[in-house]
Symmetry: C2
Subunit: 340 residues, 2 copies
């Protein structure tokens, strides 16, 4: 950053004051068109670009959003970030990203950095270790709006963008029931996490509402819904006296691994076991048979987060304390549950 042209330089060249240059470039109505043209021409000629740090400093607005995600390389989060960046870009905001690596300590450190960086607002998905959100409270005092998505705090009021995990799971399970399944299993995520708890509850509620029994031997608990855990769960199903005829998995990885384990054991999908996943990962379209899954709208979640956050930044109307937006999901029906 050397010998940048400043407003002062332009002013000297044009025999005008820096105030006038600033206003001309900002298209201020009080400045004559003739002057605006002269200034713009000189600015282009000299390759002037405003120093937005100086402007941010002066205005106490940085037009940047801080985003804290567990990991950027998880597809769900990269889609969310993509949605955030897209919306932010269109509205002239910048996006600065941080990874908590699912570690509370790192998340806390990042909030300290964000506190000094003067971002105009923050979007975050909590780390898996975070049970207490007090490190986010400081932003309330500083007047920096927060929006959480996916893994959201329960211990304090904040704006949130979520999907209806309960309802989505209800619908997914209902789809299996309506397809004729009577013994439906569930591979469940970590029950310390609200979204996975809701998915289990939605599954149970659907069974109940169709007068099907909730058979605990058909519900498999996992820690992180990893591919390997999915393989282990599928093997457990195989060791049961009777196989389930339907399986709703709390994510796509476990659903894919179940498909593979079952097929290796000559079990026909969906004829013998119909399978539904959750999240619409890219692999769900590639695995054979293609996986029926819940589109969790990751990109839209990012867009919605950015939209809500920017509205909160720009609304001087201090009446709204927090806002919770629930996005619609969509059950994408593919071969893995298309029976007969």
């Amino acid at each position: 950053m050397k010998n940048r042209i400043t407003l002062k330089d332009l002013a000297k060249d044009l025999n005008l004051s820096p105030s006038t240059i600033s206003r001309a470039l900002g298209n201020h109505p009080a400045i004559s068109d003739a002057t605006k043209k002269r200034v713009q021409k000189k600015a282009d000629e000299k390759g002037f670009t405003p120093n937005s740090i100086a402007s941010s400093f002066r205005m106490k607005k940085t037009r940047s959003l801080g985003v804290i995600v567990p990991r950027i390389d998880i597809h769900f989060h990269s889609l969310v970030i993509s949605g955030i960046e897209d919306f932010a870009y269109k509205n002239n905001y910048n996006v600065t990203i941080y990874q908590s690596k699912d570690a509370l300590k790192r998340e806390q450190e990042i909030t300290k950095i964000l506190q000094t960086r003067m971002v105009d607002g923050i979007i975050s998905c909590l780390s898996i270790e975070t049970t207490n959100c007090k490190h986010f409270k400081k932003f309330n005092k500083l007047g920096v709006p927060l929006v959480f998505y996916d893994r959201v705090p329960t211990d304090f009021d904040a704006s949130k963008i979520v999907i209806n995990d309960f309802e989505s799971s209800f619908t997914a399970t209902e789809h299996l029931i309506k397809s004729g399944c009577k013994r439906i299993g569930h591979i469940a995520g970590n029950q310390k996490t609200n979204i996975f708890k809701a998915r289990l509850e939605g599954y149970k509620a659907a069974l109940k509402s169709y007068d099907l029994p909730v058979d605990e031997t058909l519900i498999m608990q996992t820690n992180s819904l990893s591919y390997d855990e999915g393989v282990a769960c599928a093997k457990k199903y195989l060791s049961l006296p009777e196989l389930p005829d339907g399986l709703f998995c709390a994510n796509d990885y476990t659903a894919v691994s179940a498909i593979q384990v079952f097929r290796k054991n000559e079990i026909k999908i969906p004829q013998q076991v119909a399978i539904v996943g959750f999240s619409n990962y890219p692999i769900s379209r590639i695995i054979e048979p293609n996986l029926t899954t819940v589109n969790d709208r990751a990109f839209h979640m990012g867009e919605a987060s950015a939209k809500l956050l920017i509205r909160q930044i720009e609304d001087n109307n201090d009446i709204i304390d927090s806002e919770i937006i629930t996005l619609k999901t969509e059950l994408i029906i593919r071969e893995s549950s298309r029976i007969g």
Copy 2:
């Protein structure tokens, strides 16, 4: 951002000057330990956090890196960003990201934004449309270092982090040859892009060096190496009088689609056709049979980019103009090429 505590506030409280507060918090050697302690205590007590925008403005250093990627939601790029963020975080840099969406126009706009944002350095992978990099030249004049990765400019000197596509492809093809393949096909990427050109060349060179003929009917051209294009290519192979016995694909998507098309046609992988992909996408470990592929070190590419960039930012030594670092790849041998 309201009623933030400033150095001046602390100074007033402690009957010291702002200069002393600044130096005390910056652990300046000239300040007595007693004063440092007093200042630190008061700062903690009042919840002081430095305004880093003011500091950036003053120092003309923002400690932030601008990153331009085609899309964040492409796994390769999200891994690279993850590597960048990780290294940057450890070195107290922030990472601001932009997506070009593979559009030259948007890439140009982003460079204009970055010019005003005063980032200390820029990391970028060129958009697919970019053939002319003159919109990056301004950063040379501004003294803002640039590092390109993966898709890098050929028309001007710049620091680059790349892998050796030629050699990696040579090794991958050689592996097929050594496994006993004699008729090896190649699904090639867009030949306007250097990396895909290099992959094709590496494949051809390996054949030649083992005295195998280069059979153009076994080389399929694609536009974007998409899954669907892979399916189409695989079908073309099936329509040939004789199938290849080995297939080196310029990415994993096309390799996966080839596996699926072949298997649907009762062709045994790897016994009848051995297949090798490129990039080590997550799906390569999941597809059956598991895909042999080239680990392109996306995360390390990000780390290396950030490392090189930060070194260029912090080295006042103006002797180095640009630096090109080639990373080692690794051939991961899995079932899809393990013959016999």
